[in-house]
Amino acid sequence: MRKYRADVVIIGGGISGLYAGYLANKLGYDAIVIRKGQGATALSSGNIDIMGYYEGQSGWFDSGAEGIRFVTKRNPTHPYSLLDMAEGVPDLTIEHGKHAIMLTDDSIKEFNTFLGNIYTGSIAKNAYIGTTLGTIKPTGYLPFYMANGDLSHHNDTKIGVVGIYGYADFDAGYCADSLKHFSKQYHFGIDEICPVTIKFKGLTEQSNLDPFNIARKLEIDEYRQKFIDDIKTALGSKAVTHLAFPPILGIDNAKVVVSDIENELGVKVFELASLPPNTQGLRLVSLMERTSGAKIQRGEVISFNSDGSKIKSVVVRDYSSKFLFEGDFFILATGKFISDGIIDTGTLKESVFGLPVFDGKVWVKHFDPLKMSERQLISPKGHRFLRIGIRVNYKMQPLNDEMNIAYENLVAAGSVIGGYDSAFELSGFGVAISTAYKAVQTLQELRG
């Protein structure tokens, strides 16, 4: 078996793994990210949710900070509550959430620097964005392709929602009606929202169009120009100030696509947050890969070696080849169920190191379906199975079932950590980014 060595071995190539890779690299570590796929990040809409909702709250949180204050007061095992304990115990001299808010704010700002400041937003004020489902949701930071889409900041705007003939995932008419209804309900200052359905004549096929296909075409000048002409024709004399799109505005060159449409049509452009199949998460993963500075190795960690107190190495399999990666430090960023970070082998456990998992309150060894979920798909409490993950201390060090640090040189980040339900709270990227940031801080401390 071929043997490699790195200072920091990161397992998992989603947002928390790649961000940790960047942070470690920046600190001068030789870092490698081992990944078997793109994980759930590639399926996301790319905006940074910090905290949007929590059980017991009557509506959305006005800001990520408000949400963090709310949850740190009520739930001591939530990742934000752990981040709030700067010294390992709750700091009673300052208000709840203060440390966590500061750390999260710092971590997102650093994350934004890492990606070339493509995000705008604030932990002190949530933005409200439209989605391709026709819903409106709060979020903390918007990537550039959504920057004009904070509907709470719209004033006397006229929005055209662009649909493409033959792209069945997205119905502009339905979406426009729905966004209109909800922006009225939220008292947003939008004057008009109307559908603009176009036939993208530049394409030979006019059915089964998918966002990747359209996005790749729009990165080609010639197609892009045709597309802009088609929109012009469809708009006719209709005057709009904004155009809202499904996730089709390019992948690696989305900036050019957005600015070209804006300049040619004299409107502001934004994308709606979308469900998969979706280019938005892919854009983020692709950008992170290009800028993290960490090496990326494809493969699945199938076993590990330790001396009982420290991880020594992990064995990685890529198809038929096997490699051994030795490291001084290991970061676990494998995600939850979608990416096999948590598995059920008769016993529910973390998949790489076999760490025990909890649901925010108690250890969960056996998955009893009726006790793991609510009877309603969308429950005012969220679902217990979505809170399952490993237990970490305030330094993001995984704990074993005796509540001791599992391995001295292991830290964790992202949704492999239990105790929160990211879909229900709208806290996914906020927790991923802040826990990765904290995990690398810990690593730095451990090195001394």
Partner: protein
């Protein structure tokens, strides 16, 4: 108040009601079906989809066995488009009762049910999924039948002959004068409007709800409710129906249906018809038992669990209800002083046609109409002409698998459906990737098959029944429905939630390692994109 007039009122839009409507229509009698929910919303839509050869009942109930034998043969001729003639096996595994195995072929022969003993090795070659512990195997003439298509085609023909179907219509009471039901009072559950039906004869084909309906007319039926739970696997495990060769018990039948297999059932006595869903205990029992025949059942991904209620006519002292005859009961309520009211209940999918025939014989007598039944002579007019699937696939440039799957659902109507693409190329777009179903079929169903909800659409097109259980298609279907139904955004959101919840009901009890990732994703999609429950102010607004 609106009043509908007809010769015969049929209460219940399950397969029995549908069969009665067609039988009446073919005998020249005018009728109206009223149904509380949708076609096959009760037990007709929550069963195995098994066309029994009769062999299942040779031990316990030779009468049912012979009924199934005859009706199975008739239906294979009269409704070939609704049936996949898979054939079936009865298998015993090590530890099963030897006497049963020895007696089985003799009992089949006694009831004139064709059976062929197979060499165990031969059986395992035919069905490689069978356990290595198989000790005996017999081949029988079981088949897989599509209950929804069967009901739809019965109703379609009845309608073409003047029958009417009123869905979402619940019976609220009967007006009785001179020992006759003169008026039936109903309420439309969608519009909340009341209306009346005046009919010469009233037939209660309410299945498990027959007792409650009869009670509204002051009649009593001794009806027991037996819940049966079933599990759907994410792919098809066997070519044939596989029965366990032993006294009827839990999970002893695995029926292939299209791209999946259905395992079940249980038989559990329940007291009322509220909240019918499978319990974890039942599911564990089903999987454990099923795995004795087909070991793979222990490892496989299940995409859904559901339960139906068998109405069994019989004494209330019976345990579980396994030993009560699965034959049907036709009650002429004249004995209770009502001259124009009959109830048909019990029975099974395989015998629905016979149940309809017997019921209509009685009604014809009461109506003084001497016309004989024709449903055993005239096939259901599904396929007027043969369809060339590969030709259609080439003509419209659509993969053959899509056209073939559409054909199994729609029969020769696919020519009409596919021709919609000539007008609108975007109708070729796939809406449901699991089955798969294209836009044209969804639109066709919305426009011609009385669809009001996504769940209605599911029964007609199999939208949302595949491995993703609606995660990737619900929002697309809602957009298509909202446009055609004129739904506002809140109503559309309410319908989206209703369907997702309906799917969730069949998933959460069986949430397991193979299905959890899918549910994490579903939550990320819908909840993570800000979809929330409708609050009370919003409900009022709708």
């Amino acid at each position: 108040m609106q009043t509908v007039k007809t010769q015969v009122l049929i209460i219940g839009g399950g397969v029995t009601g549908a069969g009665i409507a067609r039988d009446l229509a073919l005998r020249g009698v005018n009728c109206v079906i009223v149904e509380k929910h949708d076609i096959n919303a009760g037990a007709s839509g929550a069963n195995h989809g098994l066309l029994h050869s009769g062999a299942r009942y040779v031990f316990s109930d030779t009468h049912s066995a012979e009924e199934c034998r005859d009706e199975g043969r008739i239906l294979k001729k009269m409704a070939p488009d609704c049936i996949e003639d898979t054939g079936g096996l009865f298998v015993a595994v090590a530890g099963d009762d030897e006497t049963y195995i020895t007696e089985f072929p003799h009992l089949c022969a006694k009831s004139h049910i064709p059976v062929k003993e197979l060499d165990v090795k031969e059986a395992r070659e035919m069905e490689p999924a069978l356990s290595s512990k198989t000790i005996a195997a017999f081949q029988v003439q079981d088949a897989s039948i599509g209950p929804f298509k069967l009901s739809m085609e019965n109703i379609h023909q009845a309608r073409s002959l003047g029958c009417d179907l009123l869905r979402h219509s619940q019976v609220e009471g009967f007006q009785i004068e001179n020992q006759r039901i003169t008026t039936t009072k109903l309420r439309n559950l969608l519009t909340h409007e009341s209306f009346m039906v005046e009919a010469e004869q009233v037939v209660n084909a309410g299945g498990a709800w027959a007792k409650e309906i009869a009670a509204l007319a002051g009649c009593q039926i001794d009806l027991l409710y037996s819940k049966g739970s079933l599990l759907v696997t994410h792919n098809r495990l066997t070519e044939r129906v596989i029965n366990r060769l032993r006294p009827s018990s839990n999970a002893d039948i695995l029926v292939p249906g299209g791209t999946v297999s259905i395992l079940g059932t249980t038989s559990i006595r329940i007291e009322n018809l509220e909240a019918i869903f499978p319990t974890t205990k039942e599911i564990d029992a089903i999987v454990g038992e099923g795995a004795a025949m087909i070991p793979e059942l222990e490892m496989i991904r299940y995409i859904r669990a559901y339960a139906g209620v068998r109405p069994l006519v019989g004494s209330a002292s019976e345990e579980g209800g396994r030993h009560i005859s699965r034959s049907f009961t036709l009650i002429d309520h004249e004995t209770e002083g009502l001259e124009n009211f009959a109830t048909i209940t019990g029975g099974k999918l395989t015998t629905y046609r016979l149940m309809a025939e017997k019921t209509v014989d009685l009604i014809a007598k009461l109506l003084d109409k001497d016309v004989k039944c024709r449903t055993h002579l005239e096939p259901l007019p599904v396929n007027e002409k043969p369809v060339n699937i590969s030709e259609l696939s080439q003509k419209y440039n659509i993969p053959e698998i899509i056209v073939r799957n559409m054909y199994t659902r729609q029969g020769s109507k696919i020519e009409k459906i596919l021709s919609m693409i000539e007008e609108n190329e975007s109708y070729k777009s796939i809406i449901c990737t699991c089955e798969p179903v294209i836009t044209a079929e969804v639109i066709y169903s919305l426009e011609h098959e009385w669809v009001n909800t996504v769940d209605d659409l599911r029964r007609r097109t199999r939208i949302g029944v595949g491995p993703c259980q609606g995660s990737f298609c619900t929002h697309k279907v809602i957009a298509l429905l909202a446009k055609r139904k004129g739904w506002g955004p809140l109503k559309a959101q309410q319908e989206m939630l209703a369907f997702l919840n309906e799917r969730w009901k069949g998933k959460y009890p069986i949430l397991s390692k193979t299905q959890i990732p899918q549910e994490e994703l579903t939550q990320a999609i819908y909840v993570g994109l800000g979809l929330r429950s409708i609050n009370s102010t919003e409900r009022d607004e709708i």
